[in-house]
């Protein structure tokens, strides 16, 4: 079944049993299937399942509700604040006095909380913001919001590389390297 408020019009494309990925790079918004081959790493590697929320989208003049992960310049956002947690969310972003800083803090929070994700995959996540070959849509919850920012992706990658090095650096790697040189 599809959630739609306009019946018997064009065949809706979005299915209840699918999880979608909404790439929100204001002013453009694109949608894709989250568990397809290209995007699956977000669910398996990044554990973005916890960011799945219900969003209202408009496509082909039809309004539907979809279960999706919303990525705001690569930062996953749930719709509402969960009391007692710091999980980045649209409610706090909208109310933030500086959306750029909220985004940066959110990305650092995300990168600090990731484990076993290789730096190239972080690059893939951040590069999702550049891809425009997906299906353009409108998201009701995001309409009329001025959320355009200009994030510095290389800074975020640098931070992730550092934090990963900090957590994995090991004297024996250097020792073994020396032995191999003999």
């Amino acid at each position: 079944m599809f959630h739609t408020n306009i019946c018997n019009r064009k065949k809706p494309v979005f299915k209840d049993n699918k999880i979608y990925l909404i790439c929100y790079n204001p002013p453009s918004i694109y949608i894709d299937i989250a568990d397809n081959l290209l995007n699956k790493f977000l669910l398996t590697g990044f554990g973005f399942y916890r960011f799945i929320d219900e969003w209202t989208i408009e496509d082909n003049d039809q309004e539907c509700k979809v279960r999706a992960i919303l990525l705001y310049y690569g930062l996953p956002l749930i719709k509402h604040k969960i009391p007692g947690t710091k999980i980045p969310n649209l409610e706090d972003l909208k109310n933030s006095s500086n959306k750029y800083i909220y985004y940066i803090a959110g990305m650092y929070w995300l990168l600090m909380n990731l484990s076993n994700v290789k730096p190239p995959e972080i690059k893939k996540l951040l590069n999702l913001t550049k891809k425009v070959n997906r299906r353009p849509i409108k998201v009701k919850e995001l309409e009329g919001q001025n959320l355009i920012i200009y994030p510095n992706m290389s800074d975020l990658l640098d931070f992730y590389n550092l934090i990963q090095r900090a957590r994995t650096i090991n004297i024996w790697d250097y020792y073994n390297w020396f032995i191999r040189q003999l």
Partner: protein, 94 residues
């Protein structure tokens, strides 16, 4: 090359890398602190999220500092041992 000398070589590189990582993380830490101290942030949610991240980065830096200090002491100890051995050998060449 004996084990001690290999370890000294490894420790030299290790300490250099630790120092680089600490320096890099410290730059990110200072940038986030400057955001937190700026007057632009008026809402609690952004402040709290920034604070949480800053504390986590500080914890990582502090942990690296401890590792650095302990490794540096080991390094110094090795250097001391080697120079003592050299002195002993020069005193008693046979």
């Amino acid at each position: 090359m004996n084990d001690e000398r290999l370890l000294i070589g490894a420790l030299t590189l290790y300490l250099g890398e630790l120092s680089k990582i600490m320096g890099g993380l410290n730059q990110h830490y200072l940038k986030l602190r400057s955001y937190l101290n700026s007057k632009e942030i008026k809402d609690e949610a952004t402040k709290e999220l920034l604070e949480e991240v800053i504390i986590s980065i500080k914890t990582e830096i502090d942990s690296l500092k401890k590792t650095y200090k302990a490794s540096k002491n080991i390094y110094k100890e090795f250097i001391r041992n080697i120079s003592n051995t050299k002195q002993d050998l020069s005193k008693n060449p046979h």
